[in-house]
């Protein structure tokens, strides 16, 4: 089940994209879990025909799952991740434009508009919107997108809820053995079921057997692939981190490493990349990049590029500091002549950074001091904290309590006696990362919801609403200059500016949600 803030945010997104009727259906599914059509009718009091239309639209956009075919009642389930990803669509199209040009961006935009499309439909729509477009160009772009994994085929299996599949496969595994099962065997059955679901997903991605024969296949956008690139270069999260920590040379080296390692199968949650040889990286560094600018060589001997590269890699791997803190600060790991990018470590650092920024915002640098202290040392008593963090006890106590209200720190009671007398128990403070991230994520959802709501209510203000309606008239949209008064045009421009600012803020907050949710799923498993 999804928490209420995420549910509200999803309903908001659906409302702005698909209308208030569809939003009512979505909200019923989000608050009450799996439902079948009759129950949706009951809970939403909408006409069955409207509900069917909404359900079909949501299915087409990959937002709903269904139960498998052999159950008697068709149950529908909402796909929360997919809904939250809709906030990133602008970024995906931008990245596709950057890599494949305007045509690539248009193809991705089209596929995102419709959820999934067949290639002939893609060509037809593109030709309608752009003149002088050759089908061969479209085909080429499409081929490139599919072969690099940005688009993937969508099969009927992907519309069945993964939990259903998990339960079904687990039951099959358990059914294979005739006797009663021990706990260990049950666990193994569960693992096997999970692996099978994952394998099927991979096979879907692999099953692109040539574009020419696959005109009947529906293609949809592969979010994982785009997420990988957002993580690597678009949001410049990794690069910027390297830049801030070291210098431009290091950032260039990391960029080249990420280019060299490019596996279409892997999603953004991989713990580390496949090993890449140093020579491979060397070939990806652009010619004009001067790596020697960032390193100081005392001797007159001018080192070769590859030596410089090795130096940078050594720096990035914290080779001089093999302790745990050094490893926690590294970007890559070296083993022989192979380099692996340590995504796990990098993700964790990014999340900690997000946590510290949020803490600094609310509680100032003293709050960050306390949080960092507790992260390093574990659980501590309040007196010790005030001593080590060099704060007066009278400041420390309210600070700790306000940090705990916001979920950054938590309390652990250690009773001295069996009666748990509060005067004789130790109260230890510590940072529970899972809880802290969960609180941050919830707050981010609330913020996103507020932004969306503000945008909606700005558009519904009477003056703006009237102008918007007027500007959508067909005669006015042709001839804006004459038919809208100067005041109206100014109001419209002011509203558009406000809307763009809100979208900008939304995009920035969404980046944080991306770091916390998409990059962090190695730690959290909802199904367990």
């Amino acid at each position: 089940m999804v928490d209420p803030e995420a549910a509200k945010l999803c309903t908001q997104i659906i409302r702005s994209h698909f209308g208030p009727l569809t939003a009512t259906v979505a909200s019923a599914l989000l608050t009450r879990g799996r439902l079948n059509l009759g129950q949706i009718v009951q809970f939403t009091s909408l006409k069955p025909r409207t509900i069917r239309a909404a359900v079909i639209a949501l299915f087409q956009q990959n937002l709903l799952w269904r139960s498998s075919a052999d159950e008697e009642k068709e149950m529908l389930e909402f796909n929360v991740d997919e809904c939250l990803t809709r906030l990133r669509f602008g970024r995906y199209v931008w990245w596709a434009e950057k890599k494949y040009g305007l045509l690539g961006g248009e193809v991705v935009q089209l596929v995102l508009d419709h959820g999934k499309l067949k290639p002939p439909d893609i060509y037809r729509q593109l030709q309608e919107s752009t003149s002088n477009l050759l089908v061969s160009e479209c085909k080429e772009t499409l081929y490139k997108l599919v072969s690099e994994g940005y688009l993937r085929p969508s099969t009927a299996l992907s519309h069945i809820s993964p939990r259903e599949k998990l339960i079904q496969y687990e039951a099959e595994e358990v059914g294979k053995k005739a006797n009663f099962l021990t706990a260990k065997e049950l666990r193994q059955a569960k693992e096997a079921a999970r692996a099978r679901v994952r394998r099927e997903e991979q096979e879907e991605i692999m099953a692109k057997n040539g574009i020419k024969s696959a005109d009947e296949v529906h293609f949809r956008v592969n979010f994982n692939r785009f997420d990988v690139f957002i993580r690597n270069s678009v949001g410049q999260l990794v690069e910027t981190a390297a830049l801030q920590r070291f210098n431009e040379g290091a950032a260039a080296v990391i960029r080249a490493t990420l280019l060299a390692y490019d596996n279409p199968q892997q999603g953004p949650n991989e713990a580390r990349s496949d090993p890449v040889s140093v020579n491979n990286i060397f070939t990806r560094i652009p010619e004009n990049e001067d790596l020697s600018r960032g390193l100081y060589y005392p001797s007159k001997h001018k080192p070769s590029q590859i030596e410089l590269l090795k130096e940078y890699l050594g720096m990035l791997a914290s080779a001089d500091n093999p302790s745990p803190s050094g490893r926690a600060a590294s970007f890559v790991s070296l083993s022989g002549s192979k380099v692996q990018v340590e995504f796990d470590v990098i993700h964790r650092r990014l999340q900690l950074q997000a946590l510290e920024t949020a803490c600094r915002d609310r509680h100032g640098s003293e709050g960050v001091r306390v949080v960092r202290l507790l992260l390093e040392t574990g659980k501590m008593d309040e007196k010790q904290i005030s001593k080590i963090a060099m704060m007066a006890p009278k400041d420390c106590r309210p600070l700790l309590f306000s940090l705990s209200t916001d979920g950054f720190v938590s309390l652990q009671e250690v009773p001295r006696g069996a009666d748990r007398n509060p005067t004789r128990t130790f109260f230890l403070w510590y940072v529970d990362l899972t809880k802290a991230y969960a609180t941050l994520l919830r707050n981010a959802y609330k913020t996103l919801y507020n932004i969306g709501k503000r945008r909606q209510s700005e558009a519904e203000e009477p003056l703006v609403k009237a102008i918007l309606e007027k500007s959508q008239r067909s005669d006015v949209s042709q001839d804006v200059e004459r038919l809208l008064t100067r005041n109206e045009r100014e109001e419209l421009a002011a509203w558009e500016k406000r809307r763009d600012e809100l979208t900008l803020v939304e995009m920035r907050v969404e980046e944080m949600v991306f770091i916390l949710r998409t990059l962090g799923t190695t730690a959290v498993d909802d199904d367990v």
Binding site: F18, L37, R52, A53, V55, Q60, R91, Q109, D113, K116
Partner: protein, 226 residues
């Protein structure tokens, strides 16, 4: 006039849903107040929006484009309503409800959708197959013995409720069949056996009930419309 005197003070009366702050303050005053520190509230420093880069502007443009395009696409579900306002000149230029595209069957792959919902949407007049998952024994209250008529309907109801809960596609609750069963026979005590010696009103009341044509509550059953 007293009316004029009491009516003075634009927006000051209750009953006007106005956003004007009370007591002669204006919005500028309130803003200034919130900027300075008072005892209860510390001074606020509102964050300033950093200017967007070119990339960010393009991304916002694309994101807003999605919302605008979806509004006019077939995936934005609306219900056509009829307004009885006067027809106006600008109506012919407004995007009418008919201009909103609808979902087309040929654009969608039926394998992805739940079959019943898909078929029922694009084929609203087909005969829906009524599935009887478990046997529904219709309650025949006529067969119930009179002495137990209070006990047995209550006993039977929970079971019938759980049966009908699991099948939404039952047969139509045919209005015509009503006259045969249910409470018809057990509803009225038409007063034949009553001893009416002492009761003047009771006899009249019983007589009233007995003489009229039996009134039924019919709860329209929409389950078949689903």
């Amino acid at each position: 006039m007293s009316r004029g005197g009491r009516g003075g003070g634009r927006g000051g009366r209750g009953g006007l849903a106005n956003n004007i702050p009370p007591m002669g303050l204006t919005f500028a005053d309130i803003q200034a107040m919130s900027r300075e520190a008072t005892e209860n509230y510390p001074a606020r420093e509102l964050p300033v929006l950093t200017e967007p880069s070119e990339d960010e502007k393009r991304i916002c443009q694309l994101q807003n484009g999605f919302v605008t395009r979806l509004r006019r696409s077939q995936y934005y579900i609306i219900e056509p309503t009829k307004t009885n306002d006067l027809e106006r000149y600008s109506d012919r230029y407004r995007p009418s409800l008919a201009s909103q595209p609808v979902l087309k069957r040929r654009d969608l792959n039926p394998a992805f959708f739940p079959p019943e919902i898909f078929e029922d949407y694009f084929n609203p007049r087909r005969k829906r197959k009524v599935t009887k998952a478990t046997s529904t024994k219709k309650l025949n209250l006529d067969d119930m013995i009179d002495e137990n008529d209070e006990a047995s309907p209550l006993e039977q109801l929970p079971r019938k409720g759980s049966d009908s809960g699991s099948q939404l596609e039952e047969e139509d609750y045919d209005v015509d069949e009503e006259f045969d069963n249910d409470y018809a026979e057990n509803y009225f005590d038409n007063g034949e056996g009553d001893d009416m010696d002492d009761l003047g009103d009771g006899g009249g009341g019983g007589g009233d009930l007995g003489n009229e044509h039996p009134q039924f509550f019919t709860i329209p059953d929409r389950r078949s419309e689903v």
